[in-house]
Symmetry: C2
Subunit: 433 residues, 2 copies
């Protein structure tokens, strides 16, 4: 029996929720044509303070409620859209909607990253769809390509710039020679970074998104705590100067690789060759490179955040959920987490490294440094030594290594730190090629 | 009732068909897990000479047939995959499969570009899916993002590098200063261009692909003959030198724009700013930039051809068709062609232009040229005049214009050609920003 209309309940009327409500209203005709019947917004759950906002004032008062019970008691609500963000109470709301047998659409990276397994099991039990395209990369199609378009591939690697705030800061540091704190301040002034920017600059936001992408790509549970993470705050303008000199860009990359049944997942700054595609993704753009055994390298690029791009993904998910309802389909999603791959500890990864350190300015010091590295089977591919500082009698050296084990590198760094001639190890950054 | 298995019939066992057969066999377990039951290859339609090829020798002889009737009489063939290419008899085979109520997957850009309307109507009548992800951009997800992920957007423009052969040739001309015929010869030697390269270098291949993308994006019928088309053969190494001097790259772009209910569709060489993303897409890579009112600019990039990438798309379509069969869904695709938008003739488009011409080397000539352009409301944004050739007493000038109407530009070119002081109009190329 063909439905007369499909009801939507919206939780949250902030930046994203407000824009979703606007699209459902402004594009009602186009969406009805796509679904086969009208999408009707039946109820919006808001917080008390939201009632005074312009996006709430635009809505008919009878649509708004601050009461969870009233929201979930609304009849004819086939799809529940969660645009609240944060872990709680969003998790509880999603579980409640799934338990009710409602199709669920969410933009919530934190909940999906942390609770995908529980939510997917519930969705499967209740035979309803759980869609989360907007949780990663704003308006860039990512979740759906991994679920459908790349389904025939074994995904070998993901290399992603998925945090616009840090990418903006790093782009400014690279282009304008700014130090980290000035670049951060400018990002804050422009609204690209929050007053408390730690979630972005420490890499936590990228970790959530990588957990989702890796879980999808590898059909295996990758939790945020499985992902090794370093933020960007210890990068110095000097690192950018050396990177440029060596032909590299510095990016915060989210990396996931699989080989021989084990998975490597990490978020940290990397040196990447300046002529690579990802090196050219500047400012608030996001880009995800996926490498499949059949498709080869595929890159998805676009605006990774913002109300409009995020609403594009949320409404696409609503349309798909509505078409499933029209077609009598409960859950058509392919997202298993049971392939049982092992997460490799970061000590076992192998990359090239960039090292910057201050050493005593006297004969034989570089040889000592090289010997320590050699003792740990780390070979040097190139080294730069700038003129010494007469006052402190130290010199800055930069070393690029050939691929080495992280464990060996850590041991070597410990040992180097103990040498009398090494004044300071200023930074070390992994290199991806 | 859950199916025990889903049967697949494959038409064509060439480069693509052979690889699809191999993936279905090599990845049988993974695909079965995704579909929920095994995919079984029931019959392969080949041509007589194909029987001697390695990919045919690998297959069990009882699977192969050269007989169309035997192929279509095969029982339990739920999905028909067409990997023959060309217009006929592929069109007739597709119609036959749809008429039988079989789900159809095709990699055939020519048939879809020319006959989408007829095939989609038949698919709708028979309530079966017609999938063609592999028809554009090899392994890059394109058809599916336009159908699903960008469904909430009004697509304002598409800017696409969708022919690897021409992109390889142009990349070589730009990078190595080769002239067109040397670059083409090298492309042929490397297997990037065919012995008869006209389909690629004249832009016909790109026209087919753009017809498909524009039809999808605008939900309106765009036929190959609606698309204005120029190939790349009249580009000269001098144009590349001037482009570089002016800060541009030269690419063969497939462009589709819509505004105020009308559509502009064209394939021709363009100057694009050298720091734009598409300018950096070199070699055999393809990239499609789509601009939506919500998602903003989204770029999809990857290998646009080749057996492995194409098989990635074909098998993804097979998996989706199989899941629809499992779920009891006939046709879930959103692809209407009835939005009734008007195609704008090329004379009405407006772009900036690059002009290169030889003029008599004497005072006042540039002023004469400028006056003719001015008479047609075309204003000059910059001009380069190189030192004159003493022998011929001519000078080469390059003019970049501000945006102007194509019609005005053509009239101006006619008039310029008639001036005694203009020795030759060497080239004019549109500029996109």
């Amino acid at each position: 029996m063909k439905k007369q209309s499909i009801g939507v309940g919206l939780m949250g009327l902030g930046v994203v929720g407000g824009q979703v409500a606007r699209v459902l209203s402004d594009k009602a005709e186009m969406l009805a044509e796509q679904v086969g019947c009208p999408l009707v917004l039946r109820k919006i759950k808001v917080l008390e303070p939201d009632l005074a906002r312009p996006q709430a004032k635009r809505m008919s008062a009878r649509l708004l409620t601050t009461d969870e019970e009233e929201f979930f008691a609304t009849p004819g609500m086939d799809i529940v859209v969660e645009a609240i963000g944060g872990e709680h109470p969003a998790l509880e709301y999603l579980k409640r909607a799934l338990s009710n047998g409602q199709q669920v659409v969410t933009a919530n990276k934190e909940v999906i990253a942390k609770h995908a397994a529980e939510l997917l099991a519930l969705a499967q039990k209740k035979n309803v769809g759980l869609r989360c395209e907007a949780s990663v990369g704003g308006g860039i199609p990512l979740v759906s390509p991994f679920q459908y378009d790349l389904a025939a591939n074994e995904i070998r690697g993901i290399y992603a710039i998925i945090n616009g705030t840090t990418n903006y800061i790093l782009s400014r540091m690279a282009r304008d020679g700014l130090d980290f704190s000035s670049a951060l301040r400018q990002a804050q002034e422009l609204g690209y970074a929050e007053a408390d920017p730690s979630n972005d600059i420490e890499g936590i936001d990228a970790v959530y998104k990588l957990a989702i992408l890796a879980s999808l790509a590898f059909q295996s549970q990758v939790r945020p705590e499985d992902i090794y993470c370093e933020g960007i705050s210890r990068l110095d303008s000097r690192d950018f100067r050396y990177a440029k000199e060596l032909g590299f860009a510095i990016k915060l990359l989210a990396i996931a690789k699989q080989s021989n049944g084990s998975i490597e997942v990490r978020v940290h700054p990397v040196f990447i060759p300046e002529d690579s595609f990802l090196a050219k993704v500047d400012g608030v753009y996001n880009a995800v490179l996926a490498e499949g055994d059949l498709a080869g390298k595929v890159i998805f690029l676009g605006e990774g955040a913002g109300a409009l791009p995020t609403s594009s993904a949320v409404v696409a998910d609503i349309v798909q959920a509505a078409r499933d309802i029209s077609l009598g389909v409960g859950n058509r999603l392919r997202w298993r987490l049971d392939s049982g791959k092992v997460i490799k500890p970061v000590s076992q990864i192998e990359t090239r490294y960039y090292l910057r350190m201050n050493i005593a300015d006297r004969a034989g010091v570089l040889a000592q440094v090289a010997r320590v590295l050699g003792d740990h089977s780390i070979s040097i591919s190139s080294a730069i030594q700038k003129e010494a500082d007469k006052l402190t009698q130290t010199a800055e050296i930069v070393i690029m290594t050939h691929p080495a084990r992280e464990k060996a590198m850590r041991q070597a760094l410990d040992e180097l730190g103990g040498l009398e001639v090494v004044k300071e190890i200023n930074n070390f950054v992994r290199v991806e090629v």
